[in-house]
């Protein structure tokens, strides 16, 4: 069986979400010590694949944009997936695009394959990039805890990310929250606070998550970020907030968030955190 990805992003195909993908890639590169021009190649190629989903996959409608990143010993694999008509039908035949996107991907990626998304008519663009001396990461283990689908989530305004291992999450999650806080029209004060929340979650979640992925869904509204972190081991959601305590300062998560709560399910907990910018 193919190894599981280190990063999974579930986004809508709104143009603004391409930046989320780009920043996730930058975070991955930072975590594995991948430098300038290699990262630029990857960012450029993946951006083209994402833009295709933004522009062509759903015929002007909104639909999912899914991105997966696998970090191996000397390569990085990125899958960009849609569940619409996809690239093949959307651009190649219609001839509406001048078709620069695909040659750019082919020129920059070490290898690229276009395949039909399993179970839907969409397209998967699978790109591999050589990463030379950059560090590899362990693939998440198949432990029965697939990243959650976060039922009832409105993917139009919610970004969902699952990531493993922790060393990768440390570089990626604060970046993503920075992007999403900026989109929520937060001031630079609260953007930084959102990163502090991300730091604290990543630092303390290790003992609380079920399986190997740290997963969260972030809902973005004007001046309002809502985070759902889980699945967490039953009873551990409140414990995660407790663990963020720094003696003399208090519980960092509690102090930075405007409110937090716990959703109890039969087998697991979900921690919710709300950050507002009241300025």
């Amino acid at each position: 069986m193919a190894p599981l990805p280190n990063v999974r992003l579930h986004l809508s195909n709104r143009a603004e979400n391409v930046l989320v993908v780009r920043e996730a890639l930058t975070g991955v590169a930072e975590a594995i010590g991948l430098g300038g021009s290699d990262l630029s190649d990857i960012r450029t190629a993946v951006t083209e694949a994402c833009n295709n989903v933004v522009l062509h996959a759903y015929g002007g409608q909104e639909g999912p944009l899914e991105v997966e990143v696998k970090v191996a010993a000397s390569s990085l694999e990125v899958v960009v997936r849609d569940r619409g008509v996809g690239i093949a039908a959307g651009t190649a035949s219609a001839g509406v695009e001048p078709g620069i996107g695909l040659p750019v991907i082919e020129a920059l990626a070490h290898s690229v394959a276009f395949v039909e998304t399993p179970g839907s008519g969409g397209t998967e663009v699978r790109m591999a990039f050589a990463t030379g001396a950059a560090r590899g990461l362990q693939a998440p283990t198949r432990d029965g805890f697939e990243p959650p689908a976060f039922a009832e989530i409105d993917h139009a305004t919610t970004a969902t990310i699952s990531i493993a291992p922790t060393a990768l999450a440390r570089a990626v999650i604060p970046r993503l929250l920075c992007v999403l806080a900026a989109r929520a029209q937060f001031s630079t004060d609260r953007i930084s606070d959102s990163q502090l929340v991300a730091d604290a979650l990543v630092a303390h979640a290790g003992g609380s998550i079920m399986g190997s992925y740290l997963s969260m869904a972030v809902n973005v509204e004007p001046r309002d970020l809502e985070l759902r972190v889980g699945p967490l081991i039953a009873g551990r959601a409140e414990g995660l907030v407790h663990d963020s305590d720094v003696e003399g300062l208090g519980r960092v998560l509690e102090k930075l968030a405007d409110s937090h709560g716990v959703i109890n399910a039969a087998s697991h907990d979900t921690l919710t955190l709300q950050l507002l910018d009241r300025q």
């Binding site: 920043e23 951006t47 502090l196």
Partner: protein
């Protein structure tokens, strides 16, 4: 030329000035035209795109771009920092990314990258006192007598002394202003005499350090 322009715009636009990239792309286009054999090749575009991209990548490598943060990025980060301060001074609160982008005529993404990049600049001018900061810092130090009393109460707890005392006093002061007094980062920046981004950086770093220290203390030897 539209092809060169399109590729220059597409190639990781946030890092280098567009004009520089366009020049390199145009050079790549010339080379491609020179080498293209219409008899044998498929379309010109499919031949030219890899050539142009190859030229741009070589340019980045030759300019040592991969080895350090590009100068343009650093300058932009400092501009964003200064604009953030100017805005906060004028309006009494911190700006949004979009406000900074409009003010500096940048894209939101460039401002976000600047915010993130500034946290990576460890030394440089960022840690140096800001103009006039010395006076403000002293004024602040003189005016917090009341707060000090409260801090001392907290510090009666021996474990607090143990962990918090292991980081520099300025960081300790900033942490308390944020987490005990509930000041915003911009308010803290004004009192301490550094930029808000510096406050952000110091908070992140010192919280990391405190977590390390706590972890070390908890782990059995």
């Amino acid at each position: 030329m539209p092809l060169a322009r399109s590729l220059a715009r597409r190639y990781d636009r946030s890092s280098e000035p567009y004009e520089d990239l366009l020049q390199v792309a145009a050079l790549g286009l010339l080379k491609a035209m020179d080498r293209f054999d219409a008899e044998r090749g498929p379309s010109f575009a499919s031949f030219a795109i890899p050539t142009i991209l190859g030229e741009m990548r070589r340019y980045f490598r030759d300019s040592g771009w991969s080895l350090h943060v590009p100068r343009g990025d650093k300058e932009r980060a400092l501009k964003v920092r200064d604009a953030q301060e100017a805005f906060a001074n004028e309006h009494g609160h911190a700006p949004t990314v979009n406000q900074l982008a409009q003010y500096l005529e940048l894209e939101d993404e460039q401002v976000i990258d600047a915010l993130l990049a500034i946290q990576a600049y460890e030394s440089l001018s960022l840690d140096a006192p800001r103009p006039g900061a010395e006076d403000e810092a002293i004024t602040y130090g003189d005016s917090v007598g009341e707060d000090d009393a409260r801090y001392e109460l907290i510090e009666l707890d021996a474990t607090v002394v143990a962990v918090l005392d292991q980081i520099p006093s300025r960081e300790r002061q900033i942490l308390r202003m944020r987490f005990v007094d509930g000041l915003t980062q911009t308010q803290i920046a004004v009192r301490v005499g550094v930029s808000q981004m510096q406050v952000s950086r110091l908070l992140r770093r010192s919280l990391d350090q405190l977590r390390e220290l706590t972890r070390d203390a908890d782990e059995p030897r």
